[in-house]
């Protein structure tokens, strides 16, 4: 499945995404903006308001990353799909 995340290498911590999200699916945790997989409905409002494109980031996952896991990223993992 596909998961919408914020790329920490492109994020300037301006909180535009958090303010743009109508579903309050984005939270700032330890300075990182993390997307709640359950709440996010891919409306793209955050992508429109993000000044750098950090929010325009989707990854293929086997199990969605939690917000706490995302808060520890310094870069976006390519996926957590099992190696075939």
């Amino acid at each position: 499945m596909q998961q919408h995340v914020v790329d920490p290498e492109m994020c300037i911590q301006c909180s535009a995404c958090e303010m743009a999200c109508p579903l309050k699916a984005i939270d700032c945790i330890a300075g990182r903006f993390c997307v709640d997989f359950v709440k996010c409905k891919n409306c793209a409002k955050c992508i429109e308001d993000c000044p750098t494109g950090a929010c325009d980031c989707f990854i293929e996952v086997a199990t969605p990353f939690t917000q706490m896991e995302q808060a520890e990223w310094t870069s976006v993992p390519t996926s957590n799909l099992p190696q075939s």
Binding site: Q13, S15, P51, G53
Partner: protein, 260 residues
Amino acid sequence: MGNVDVLSDSDRALLSTIVDGKPVTNLQSSSGKYRELVTGILLQYADSEMAGGVGFAGALSLAPSLLEKTALAKIAYEKLNLADRTYQLVAQTGINIDKYIASHCWDARLGRTATLGYKRISADKRLNSLHFPIQGWADLAVFTYLMAGVACIQLEDFCSSSFEPWSQLAEAHLPIEESHREFGLNALRRASKFEQELSSIRLSVCYWYDKVLACCGPPSSDRNSLFLEFKLKASKNEDIAIRWQHEVANALAEINVSVG
């Protein structure tokens, strides 16, 4: 101050020091909204120079003489250099600039007949006129003159920006952008002496005029009000547009081309 309700406490505190005349010298220690607004301006400028420089590099074969090919190559180099210096400012925010540049296709262009207006269509932040392809030397000269004209007026405006590193950079970039405007106008003066080229110039002015005018931004823009409140810009979009229209009309009248 209708936009103040979208500001956080740290945004309001920063706004108050800016209103008192104190410039901002570091993006990391500024507020979230200020960082967002400044990054938006810097990326729009840098991405436009980047797309322009890459586009000009691919258009060298359009230049009719060796002298004009050399001048165009120099402009392409200078545009990439202006982009580089601006990206270095953006890097203050912690963005991985190499990754950002590698993530976008700088020579991508739409079809000639596409319509955009103010609508954003790409992941990079270039101005919309840079999404359209150039067709021929006269077309390139018209585009260069019109776009560099807008860039000069906007850079002049940025010279008084509250973000000091950007105001200093804008001041340094202005003479370079003015030389690009002169290059475009001189190429038009030379080409306009030939009747067939003059017809091409008139058609190109018709094609590019509204597209470049839209780069001045929409009138009565909420976002521009925020830029004005934070003193990131000094002029309204509509005032930039009016000034550009006057300058263009006067310069093109010299070569017997009318606009509007």
